[in-house]
């Protein structure tokens, strides 16, 4: 299944949840926030929210800034 993650097109296994995607990418979930097709997916829902082909995902974290 094709999806776009942080602007990069990626080939992902079918039926991934957000939590599974983060594991698949080697990301520790407690330090990131996820947006799916323009809407925030709350951390409590990472385990149930399933991805669909063509999804646009943003995975963000805090960095230094002014």
């Amino acid at each position: 299944m094709r999806a776009t993650v942080n602007g990069e097109p990626l080939e992902l296994p079918e039926g991934l949840t957000v939590a599974a995607l983060l594991r698949h990418l080697g990301v520790r979930a407690e330090r990131v926030a996820v947006e799916r097709n323009g809407e925030v997916v709350k951390q409590a829902r990472h385990g149930e929210q399933k991805l669909a082909p063509g999804d646009v995902l943003e995975i963000v974290t805090f960095v230094g800034g002014g």
């Binding site: 993650v5 942080n6 602007g7 990069e8 990418l25 080697g26 990301v27 330090r31 990131v32 926030a33 996820v34 947006e35 323009g38 925030v40 709350k42 951390q43 943003e58 995975i59 963000v60 974290t61 805090f62 960095v63 230094g64 800034g65 002014g66």
Partner: protein, 260 residues
Amino acid sequence: MDELVLGEHRFTSRLVVGTGKYKDFPTMKAALEASGAQMVTVAVRRLDLQARGESSLLHWIPKEMVLLPNTAGCFTADDAVRTCRLARELQLGGENPLVKLEVLSDQKTLLPDVEETIKAAKQLVAEGFRVLPYTSDDPVAARKLEDAGCAAVMPLGAPIGSGLGLRNPYSLQMILDQAKIPVIVDAGVGTASDCALCMELGVAGVLVNTAISGAKDPVAMARAMKLATEAGRLAWLAGRIPRKLYGSASSPLAGVIGGA
């Protein structure tokens, strides 16, 4: 107690510092501590999916400091609103989180796009955010942002990272005269005296990043900014003397030896 009140937060320090452009995290942490600041800005960015086990910024920010996520780098109201929602999620959904709203107009000047800023501010206020908008030093823009329900207004002293200091103190005075919410000077501070000057005009606080992180000795500069902010605040509270064109002797004129 002389406090800066923003939303549910009360601060005894009136210096807000950034976390950008430090050469390393240990230097940043030492500078944050030396600044005495109780609130720090952070940016929201895409996680680098290639970099594994990178050191997390949050591990280097003292736990007692309040985070002020910014929308730096956003050029539209929509992007800024999305960034604030992600920032709220990154803080695990605090009720009324503080956000520094920044919607820029172009890469060269980094001046605020006030129209988009006001649009985003209205949306964010409606969603329960405590909005601290970076804006131009325009009293009309400041009034509109206050009317939109912002928790403070943050006019620039000069363009971001320019270090030019407070370029238009008269505009700032107009903003201060009308504002019923805290006015925080954000951007343009180059050195400690800039902080003191802003505070002496009666602003509620100053936000400094590059002038500290880019100094030869960021930790020493952080302390200088702390002292200057405190000194400027004290001078404002103390009430300065009026300016006069001609001299006015400090010592008695009568009783000078050799007189008549």
